[in-house]
């Protein structure tokens, strides 16, 4: 509770929390908030400017932009949450086991992680989705792959010092297995650090998903995605600039919110870093 209060005392974080809540509520309540079906086409209403019946205008198929933005938020959030959770689970476990084991095994694992880090993340995501095919699960795999190495590094660093501490030695002396020491006794001590990075990486995941969709490697149409909407809008930028502006602002609001929350979490968990 004190942690949440410390976090919310920072005005930037509070704004970030509000921005994220707005997007999450928009996504959850999309069926009730959407004035129209996101896939409903109406050729007579194509490229309507914002206002009137269509608050944010319509696209080239006469679909309501507001409805598509609300439903598109679901895709962005689902992909960001699942891909980063997977990266935390896989990368975090690799980092913890590697740091705990130490020696040559640690050296080898970290070398592999360093090599993965030397790949430009968007290019890696681009190639993985292109090879696997554009689908929701494949996007999750591609984005998770780009985030595994950073989480392995983040989880490993504190384990290196924690494993020297008395409580770990005591656990081993009591006959606890390595797995129990690692996941029951060490894990709670590194969780906050990993989760803080998780929120910052969620912002990166939203950006990456939108970028891949913009390139044409996102979830297939007619499912609405913000990046895909930007792509369609970009093709009509001269006649209908609102098609690019609204989804662009939606992406900005969510990524900015997540970054603000991530910064706040980081400051609240490590007061030394506060305001840096």
């Amino acid at each position: 509770m004190r942690f949440i209060r410390a976090m919310l005392r920072n005005p930037t974080t509070s704004v970030g929390v509000v921005l994220c809540i707005v997007v999450v509520l928009g996504a959850l309540l999309a069926p009730w908030l959407s004035p129209h079906d996101p896939a409903e086409q109406s050729i007579l209403d194509r490229l309507q400017p914002p206002g009137g019946e269509f608050l944010l205008g319509t696209d080239t198929f006469g679909r309501d932009v507001l409805a598509r933005i609300l439903w598109g938020a679901r895709i962005s959030l689902v992909i960001a949450v699942t891909s980063i959770s997977a990266a935390i689970l896989i990368g975090g476990s690799i980092g913890m086991v590697s740091g705990y084991a130490g020696g040559r095994f640690d050296l080898l694992v970290m070398q592999v992680m360093d090599v993965m880090l030397s790949f430009p993340s968007l290019i890696l995501g681009l190639i993985v989705v292109a090879l696997l095919g554009p689908a929701l699960l494949n996007l999750v795999i591609a984005i998770a792959l780009t985030a595994i190495a950073p989480f392995a590094r983040i989880a490993r660093a504190p384990v290196l010092s924690l494993k020297q501490r008395a409580f770990v030695e005591a656990g081993r002396a009591l006959g606890f297995s390595h797995a129990r020491v690692l996941f029951v006794h060490i894990l709670p001590n590194i969780l906050s650090e990993v989760l803080v990075m998780g929120s910052l990486w969620m912002a990166t995941a939203v950006r990456t998903e939108a970028s891949l969709s913009f390139i044409g490697l996102g979830v297939k149409p007619p499912t609405p995605t913000w990046g895909g909407m930007m792509r369609d809008g970009f093709e009509n930028i001269l006649d209908a600039p609102w098609l690019s502006i609204w989804p662009g602002l939606a992406i900005l609001v969510l990524v900015l919110g997540l970054n603000m929350v991530g910064d706040g979490l980081r400051d609240a968990t490590d007061p030394k870093l506060a305001g840096t």
Binding site: L117, S118, F119, L122, L124, A203, I215
Partner: protein
């Protein structure tokens, strides 16, 4: 200095080998047969088998790996399966555009980011600091294709100050420059946001050090303290971030090239993806990774220049 360079170069060799291995694994780990994917659904089994033989995919994996390593280590990046042109020739044709864009973006990023970060640190919690922090957070949150499209809408379509898109004529410096401004601003502003944050936090740490107080006590003018003693010592984390940023810059340049319809490495990679040109994809992945390894090497060497203690270590 030469010994350091040689040592770092030797240390980069295993990384390069590992990067090559990972590229090999990624392209082959994916389910499905590349030959069948390239030829499409209507390909006959004979045509697929012929292409497999041409690509060497009928060989055992270890033999493929050995010939893959031999090919790239001898500097042969292969031939595009679609155009039949050497990949390096395609890359060389667009390289001036990519170099223009990258250098201009780095220039904008450092020219805005370093002074903004230093001023923010000097006016901690003041108006300048709050503005710098907020703007850098917004800058970091903009995916480049969104900021690129917004800049395009404002400066090319609404105010008509810069050309909308374009393949710059390399022989005409003015044309080259005007077509560079918006794409470079798109990439550079995001980079400036990163550099502002890192410079600010590094400067805050350095300015609280004892040697800064000593320099001030000795009567060194404040400007000298900040720029000579402060920034030089804050330089290491800043250089590290600029080095690490190259990976992000590469990804961002792909999106910028698409938005502004500029020729470049990014456009080649997207074209190769659309045409399922595996050899070009593989070649470009290797080129990108080499580039990052080289930048990491240069970053390591820059440490020695900024901080002589690193060179002695």
């Amino acid at each position: 200095m030469i010994a350091t360079v040689v040592r770092r170069l030797l240390a980069a060799i295993p990384t390069l080998l590992a990067v090559l291995t990972l590229v090999f694994v990624i392209v082959r780990i994916v389910p499905g047969d590349p030959a069948a994917a390239i030829l499409g659904d209507r390909a006959t089994p004979a045509a697929v088998a012929a292409l497999q033989a041409k690509l060497g995919l009928d060989q055992p994996v270890w033999a493929q790996y050995v010939s893959f390593l031999r090919q790239y280590l001898s500097g042969d990046f292969g031939v595009s399966m679609v155009t039949n042109r050497p990949i390096l020739a395609d890359v060389a044709a667009v390289l001036p555009h990519t170099i223009d864009l990258t250098l201009a973006a780095m220039l904008i990023g450092t020219l805005i980011g370093i002074p903004a970060g230093v001023s923010a640190a000097l006016h901690r919690n003041g108006v300048i600091d709050v503005a710098a922090r907020l703007l850098s957070l917004i800058g970091l949150s903009f995916p480049v294709f969104v900021s690129g499209i917004f800049l395009l809408l404002a400066f090319a379509l609404h105010w008509r100050i810069f050309p909308v898109i374009g393949n710059a004529n390399l022989a005409d410096p003015l044309d080259r420059l005007t077509k560079l401004v918006l794409p470079a601003a798109t990439l550079g502003l995001v980079m400036a946001a990163y550099i502002t944050r890192v410079t600010r936090s590094a400067m805050l740490q350095v300015l609280s050090e004892d040697y800064i107080r000593t320099a001030r006590a000795k009567g060194v003018p404040w400007r000298g303290v900040v720029w000579r003693h402060g920034l030089r010592n804050a330089g290491l984390p800043v250089v590290t971030v600029v080095g690490l940023y190259v990976g992000i810059l590469i990804g961002n340049s792909v999106l910028t090239e698409i938005v502004f319809n500029r020729p470049g490495l990014g456009r080649i990679i997207v074209g190769a993806l659309n045409q399922r040109d595996y050899t070009t994809l593989q070649g470009l992945m290797v080129i990108y990774c080499f580039l990052i390894v080289v930048v990491n090497l240069l970053t390591d060497l820059a440490y020695g220049v900024i901080d002589p203690r690193v060179k002695q270590a």
